[in-house]
Symmetry: D3
Subunit: 333 residues, 6 copies
């Protein structure tokens, strides 16, 4: 069974699985070589030291690999470290992914079914076929279900991309019929596909970071390439429908300064920009407050990116609400 790093205490015997995030050799003041490791799991990180049989052991496992470690937790310069007595490489199949990475708490497969459901409402046969091609692309689906939506700002956990995509599509569904003259098929398709380039932009199998092509090209262009790839397989896909669809991906950040090479020029693209941005901000602020506001505090820490504090609303009763607000009280007009 997994022992989480944040549960390890001084003098504990350690016997569990970890990911090796850093691995280097060093020399003691007395001239002996030893190995310094940084071991991580989803709860935190801890130093590991291998003092003996260094050369034999060094080859038996790799940086960014999973290992089975045994040893003893000791305190050194006020910090805990593990003096390792046994280390062994472990294959990816043997570990439980969610032991190692922050992961959505939601039901991934349920979320994905909901998204399929929404996609089925699209009547335009071209758009419908296009979506179908994505749903049949097993390697894409595998990535799409696990990718985070960003490294820092929002939905920054495994499964976050799916969660954000579904949320935007649901919000679009709720709102779009309120306005006349919007092309719902286009809007829904775009909502579902707008961020799909993120499966390639980020690397998230060992740690969250940008991939090379993520940094050099970005999810907007990577997404357009994936869409273009599928459209190529649909010989009758209309040219202007393709142009309009790609315009959503290009413009969904809304402004040049936020990395969109085009501003939204259709009503539908304007709407997607606002709803995407709103969904990301709301999730981002909720995550930030969860992490960066002490229990009971009214104010979060300072958010450097947004250059502000956030107010943690007190529970409603605090301001003398007679009874709870029930969601189902509110129905559409």
């Amino acid at each position: 069974m997994k022992t989480y790093i944040n549960e390890i205490k001084e003098n504990d015997h350690v016997d569990s699985l970890f990911l090796v995030k850093e691995k280097s050799s060093a020399v003691t003041k007395t001239g002996n070589t030893y190995l310094k490791l940084k071991l991580v799991d989803r709860s935190g990180e801890i130093e590991g030291r291998i003092w003996t049989f260094v050369e034999n052991v060094a080859e038996s496992f790799e940086k960014d690999g999973f290992v089975h470690v045994m040893g003893k937790a000791v305190s050194f310069q006020e910090r805990l470290q593990v003096n390792i007595t046994s280390i062994e490489s472990v294959r990816e199949e043997e570990i439980l992914f969610s032991d190692f990475f922050p992961m959505t708490e939601k039901d991934v497969d349920g979320k994905f079914q909901s998204l399929l459901e929404i996609g089925r409402q699209i009547k335009n046969p071209h758009l419908s076929q296009l979506l179908q091609l994505f749903w049949e692309d097993a390697s894409f689906i595998e990535l799409f279900k696990i990718a985070p939506a960003s490294k820092w700002l929002h939905h920054n956990y495994l499964g976050g991309l799916l969660e954000h995509t579904l949320s935007v599509a649901q919000v679009v569904l709720r709102i779009a019929s309120h306005y006349d003259g919007l092309n719902m098929d286009l809007l829904l398709t775009a909502a579902i596909l707008h961020d799909l380039g993120k499966v390639d932009e980020l690397s998230y199998h060992r740690s969250f970071d940008y991939s090379d092509e993520g940094r050099l090209l970005g999810h907007i262009i990577l997404g357009i390439e994936r869409v273009e790839d599928k459209i190529k397989q649909l010989p009758n896909f209309p040219k202007d429908l393709s142009t309009l669809l790609k315009h959503f991906l290009l413009s969904h950040h809304g402004q040049y300064i936020w990395g969109s090479p085009k501003k939204p020029m259709t009503l539908e693209a304007v709407m997607l920009h606002f709803l995407d941005d709103m969904d990301a901000k709301i999730n981002g602020i909720q995550q930030f407050i969860k992490k960066e506001a002490p229990e009971g505090a009214r104010w979060s820490a300072y958010h450097r990116m947004f250059e502000q504090y956030f107010y943690v609303s007190p529970p409603w009763e605090h301001i003398k609400l007679p009874d709870n607000i029930e969601k189902n009280v509110f129905e559409d007009e």
Copy 2:
């Protein structure tokens, strides 16, 4: 019956009601004094000239007043003008407001009832009472029903403020329950009150412009003052509820640069900002396209404020949609 200015042709006999927007005297090359008027109605404007009995007539009507004019349309330097033979002041009661000003095409009273309906869903007694005070304030209601939402950018017609307010409230209703932990009572109240200062910011009984206090103080502060006025009448209104409510008004533009002295700091204020902005943009673009895109064109004129063109989506069939999209196909999750 009203003859609209854009229907007048050369040599027509003119006999109708107009608003006098400008009035000045001038001298012909031969030394005779005459009166130059600018006559307007909702369809456009036309020059009027009074050549005889100038002094007698000049006193009988006023700039910014309504008049009954008779005369003949002639062409002078390629433009039509009316040589006036009779002019008479007319009282406001005798005119039909919508003959003179752009006006919402929607049912104002129906819209107002819908807003009342939404307000009734608010359960917090303080907020509910606060709204009630506004609904009981007849002079406010009169303004609120007729005010435009802005001079240029969106809902820039009589009744526009109510239309925008209701639309934002409805969108809030549709979306808010999608996210956990939002205070619906606060959000709905804020949606209803967020722009109420516009009843004072603009003057809109003769022409659309900013009032003095509108320019010097702006609708954000004017709105806060109206809210504060009502809250004063509710002795038990909680202080922090009042602060949170006013924060919505202050922050709904979202950024300093857009005239908000505070950025939104609560989840609810963040959401209101996005939905308010989206609603205004969508209406603004729709109005702009209606006015500034030639029939059948794919592109609007250049929008100076937004520094871009807008694409006028072709009808869906154009891109080979098998059958029309029906709104009711889409239902909430």
Copy 3:
């Protein structure tokens, strides 16, 4: 007698009053619970530790409360801390405020009298009565005399708001008559009232920070509310005078980007903006140099907010001035 924290040395016996800024419990490696305190006074801060009778003692004083501490100063990991042997809660009346907070070195009451003096020169009866209402509001005066003018940037000490207000009013008096056509009564009243919302924006009884309503609404709006409150008590106060006066408060930051929801639109508001900004900057730079430039250095540290260094002018003699400049040499034209 107060022992200041920056005077405590290793092995000193400590016996003095402090403010408890932080208070938490921790566990030694050997499993014993102890209390960690952060004790502060105006000279600095020091760690305090309570090792024994932890549970009994913990209830006897509070975070943000004043305490009488006895103990011994010891060195731990290169830093001093106090091993506390006795701690006792002390009421606010027993402490000397200026022992704990940075405080103006100027004579607060003298400053206040000077401000009253300036106010008396205002002849417009409405403005004069308005000021009078503020001077008669004892709870306001109490705050107004002690509030700082800002958390960081300028006059960031108790009494700073009064000091800044008086300074701006004096500068206005010196300059305004130089220009024709300025409304001196309005300008002086605005100078006196422009920052009054700061009494509510900041909390400054235990530490300098923003209050909740300070963060959510800001001193501009809080000031307008206080002004509006008083004007309500003056039934004949002219509407446009009230609008003009509030415009000063709204616009005194000068630009949207600096938090003003309106730019200054009257000559008087333009002038107040410049003089307020200048006064704040000069004080801010002087404070910064005093704190952040080593004795004798020609350059201050880097000022992150202003993104620059400041030059510390050498004494005049250094550049071979024959004799000192006497202030009274300079007289107005």
Copy 4:
């Protein structure tokens, strides 16, 4: 005697002095060559036509020269023009400068004496000698007395530079002693010299525009060169005094974006920046209102540069002031 252009009426006989701003030849539909002139004086501009003896006459006067014109005012396409029957070149000595250019209404020599007076209060012998060198430079003084302070924004009339310079120096005198620790000699010298490069930046003998070196180098650098020139003649002038003085010129616009290559880094330079900016803005707004607000209007036209309207304060009595405010009521502390 001068007949001003804005006084000429149809059929008037014209006999007066003008400046020839434009001069070109054209051909009538019937193939005859004629001369088209643009004649200007300080009241406006008018077209002139020479129909006969074109070739003989064309050589007898020059563009940008003054001429004595006789002819008749006729109306052509709704606009007045002068059919010229006699035109003769006139030397600069024969004209009255103020007939042709906007000019300060103040007493130029009196203003200059006031500036000398202020300069005399400077005790530092180096700065005092430096000023003396400028006062002894007759060709500089001639330019300095007549130059405008800018082409558009403020003090945009002959004598405007002197007027602005004196005003800034006077304001500095009024304020500076209010703050401790300012170097008055340096501040006054800088106030007097800060804009002197404008004598070279603008060309203002025939029309207001930028000179070539004005556009390519700007008044900041041109001013530094004039200061450096004089300092070179003072062998003992201290290097760091020179550096500090030039820093004022370089930084007085306050920000990179406003054309200052350095931000103000000394207290004195910070103050000069604010007072210079304030003085320019106040004059600029006053000029703008005088020109761009209709008599009696509460609002100026829209100021494109400042992106706002200005409010034209009503006379004080309007808001029920009991008696006039007298300047001398206000005295320094």
Copy 5:
């Protein structure tokens, strides 16, 4: 033979080819319908009127088509127009393109050969093959040779894209070897392909404007799609080479605000950005001066986009150069 519009004079008999830019019907004051045309060629535009047989004639030619016109030039309200007596549609093959559109004065085929030449120096077989695919794509080459490089700013004439592309490639060749460690093959390929999306972004067969996909997607993305298309045909093309190459296209505008969704992240991309920008600016300024500076003037008109004037350097001799500078004096180090 072509008669150019700017050569037509009153009463001329007109007999030449034109492009019909606008075509509408109107009604005379006497109630007769007539046709209003706007006729253009590369020298300008002129109104045309068809007064008789309107209905018969109206169908015989189209807006945006070429026509053979006969008629008479008359003057109406100070402007010339052609009263058309005969009009006939003309096929594109019968006209000389350069009679109708601004066109490069350079030798297009020679330029294209030079570009091929440069391409041949690329040794990397993948990049070399990629270029080859473009050179073999006849429909691309046809567009590439005729497309302008922009609508307004630089190389805004037929053939401008090729001219700019060659110029950038040549400048890259001249400079790149000066710096160590640059990948010349990649840099040259990128220089040749960086703007190729402009063949699709602009429409330039009848008038210069953006195409629908140009406005909605932009030349950056359109270029990437063309590159991706070709790469797909090269099965062994390395993935990271493809990523690096596309990064050039994405980042060549240098900054988000200038429409690049990525900043240049490789040395080569940084260099291409600077050289592309420099080449465009130099050509743009040269075109602007040619068009917007009067003969002999030292200053161009004000350039709204760049917000400045440009100085038209006087010929060198003017500043007393002893003899001409010969280009070949300068040789590389």
Copy 6:
């Protein structure tokens, strides 16, 4: 022989030359005074302690002076420090400059000769004479050969200014003849002189920092002053040539926001701006990658100033290039 600081290990006997960067006295817990030094050379810095004979020794050397130190390296709190047993002041002549400061790896004198060579190609006698005056100014040359080009961003080592200057001049030579109508003499002179003010802006004899006049005036103005000084010695130097030349210095940063008080207004100044910026960026990025990218990494650290990462291109072979690119393959058109 010099022992470099980064080679010193625990227990080493130290006997070498260092620069004393900081020097202060402190007191041990037992009350004894000792000296704390910071010793530096070009490889790093190390603490030094003097425990005995403190008062005698303290006077024998100075902060910012070179010293000969003997002692022993010991470890204290995980860091090395030198317990000094002997310290002695050393004159500047006795040290090897490059032991102490980062220095160009290029041949300074060779670089300087290349620059002279380029200068000789200038034919305009005025510009040629002007350069000559600089080359004859020995004290200038001494500084010019050793000055760095900036404190942080690029060529931030001794000799960097010369290296950058030569590089820009060479690039200008390579490119300029590609464009028609450029004044090569002016461009080359400007390339050589554009940054010369940096000899005064930075202080670089003991550490790299800004000099007082560097901070207060900046290299742009300091350079103009040096140029102006020399031009004064050439009585026939044409005024407009001088203006044009100084315009290059003023405008070479390209934008107000980057510290240029003028934007480039001539074609030549536009070109110099781009090539100077490109050369600085390329060197800056190369230095940054060398220092801030781990061996073998594809990405540099985050560059705070440029707000981005840089990609470290893999060696060409990696992407299967058949053979090396030889520089001389590429020749000018």
